[in-house]
């Protein structure tokens, strides 16, 4: 048996509806009622997998997304700072249009290469790649095999996928859509990470799938 990583993006939040930037603990409103339904739908569909561990970002929306599965199966969440969302610094809580207006040149540079450019006072993609890869390394060392759930965020999951696939970190925003509650499954094989699926949302009903999100 092999080691399989299931990456789950948190469910809907007020920010994911509007596209506002949110990364830190101070700016973490939690899931909407629909977001909670997404978390329950995940638990319903994935409860029969024999889970070996659940690693979760400390942000509220991620913990709330892991909650239904963990409560149902009595699994303890392992909270890891390395799975947090990108820190947006001065852009925290702002809408992209306002960022574009106030920080135009930096914003264009960040959009083009978010690996080596950071929002003012925020994190570069490469910083997120480093801290999240520490969590992956820990999981690889602790669990030789089994099914591991990682509940994290849009930027962080896309950056982990880039690192595992050998895609330049600076491309993460342009190569992957990662809607809320999407599941991506990567098996750590002898010859490296094998991607089984990216951004699967078949556990959501048609209504939840149809909700607009970023």
């Amino acid at each position: 048996m092999s080691l399989k990583l299931y990456f789950l993006r948190h469910g809907q939040t007020a920010y994911s509806k509007t596209g506002g930037y949110c990364g830190t603990i101070e700016n973490d409103p939690g899931l909407t009622p629909e977001g909670i339904k997404m978390a329950i739908a995940f638990a319903d569909m994935y409860q029969d997998i024999s889970w070996d561990a659940v690693y979760v970002s400390p942000l509220r929306r991620a913990r709330q997304t892991a909650e239904p599965l963990c409560a149902l199966l009595n699994i303890k969440m392992q909270i890891r700072e390395g799975l947090k969302e990108i820190a947006y610094g001065k852009w925290e809580g702002m809408h992209p249009n306002d960022v574009d207006f106030e920080f135009h040149d930096l914003y264009v540079r960040w959009l083009t290469d978010p690996a080596w450019t950071s929002p003012p006072g925020g994190e570069r993609g490469i910083d997120i790649a480093r801290r999240s890869s520490d969590v992956i390394a820990e999981i690889e060392q602790v669990h030789k095999k089994g099914n591991i759930l990682l509940v994290s965020h849009k930027a962080t999951i896309r950056i982990i996928l880039c690192s595992l696939m050998g895609i330049d970190v600076g491309r993460y925003r342009d190569r992957f859509v990662m809607p809320v509650a999407a599941v991506s499954v990567v098996e750590l094989c002898e010859r490296g990470p094998l991607f089984h699926t990216i951004a699967n949302r078949s556990h959501l009903d048609e209504y939840l799938r149809s909700l607009p999100c970023t």
Binding site: R175, T197, S202
Partner: protein, 212 residues
């Protein structure tokens, strides 16, 4: 509106069940393979399709048929979408190839980008011919939904090409079970993956069938 590519791998064949190397060998779908094609058509027939491109082999044409025939969609056959040519390995099992062509096999497993099966095709050759089809599509259609029905190696190589992954990694990075769908939008800033390896259109017993 943007240009969206839907990559569909053909349905089950006897070779996908056993894992034997099947490139130019022109196998038919199994009865389950036909059901997979029907399930795809059922879920995706309401999408406004702009065009359908398909490898000229029997298994891909049969996979495209349940969608295309009732909707009257023309199937554009392209040689560039054919499966890898396995040369002397065609029809053999991995164990046989390992025995008969050991060193070449080890090298091919480690880097199928620049190593070919004995007298067959290198990954980079497949990347070149398939990227010509993608280029043709980009030039012909500025927007819309394009279905591309192709094969396990060829689809994975196209995805590596679009994502900027070394072509030599195609076998080790991407799983691509039969009848799976991957959606890539050709967006302003390059190829954007919406979903990869999706099989949610298949009924449960088909999804659970073993095979490669």
């Amino acid at each position: 509106m943007s240009l969206k590519l839907y990559f569909l791998r053909h349905g089950e064949t006897t070779a996908s069940l056993t894992g034997a190397y099947c490139g130019r060998l022109d196998l038919e779908l199994t009865p389950s393979g036909h059901e997979m094609a029907e399930d795809f058509a059922k879920l995706y027939r309401d999408l406004p399709w702009t065009a359908v491109f398909c490898s000229p082999l029997k298994r891909t044409l049969a996979t495209a048929k349940p969608l295309c025939e009732p909707l009257g969609l023309e199937i554009h056959k392209r040689d560039g979408l054919k499966e890898i040519y396995y040369g002397k390995w065609e029809g053999k099992s991995p164990e046989e190839v390992n025995r008969e062509f050991h060193d070449e096999y080890v090298r091919w497993l480690a880097d199928p980008g620049w190593n070919a099966p004995t007298e067959g095709e290198k990954g980079i050759d497949i990347s070149r011919r398939s990227s010509e089809v993608l280029e043709e599509i980009e030039h012909t259609y500025l927007s819309g939904n394009i279905l591309i029905v192709s094969h396990k190696a060829t689809i994975r190589i196209m995805l590596c090409y679009l994502l900027g992954i070394d072509v030599g990694r195609f076998r080790d990075r991407i799983g691509m079970p039969v009848a799976s769908v991957s959606i890539v939008e050709l967006a302003t800033h390059g190829p954007l993956v919406h979903v990869m390896g999706d099989r949610s259109h298949l009924r449960e017993d088909l999804r659970k069938r073993i095979g490669t």
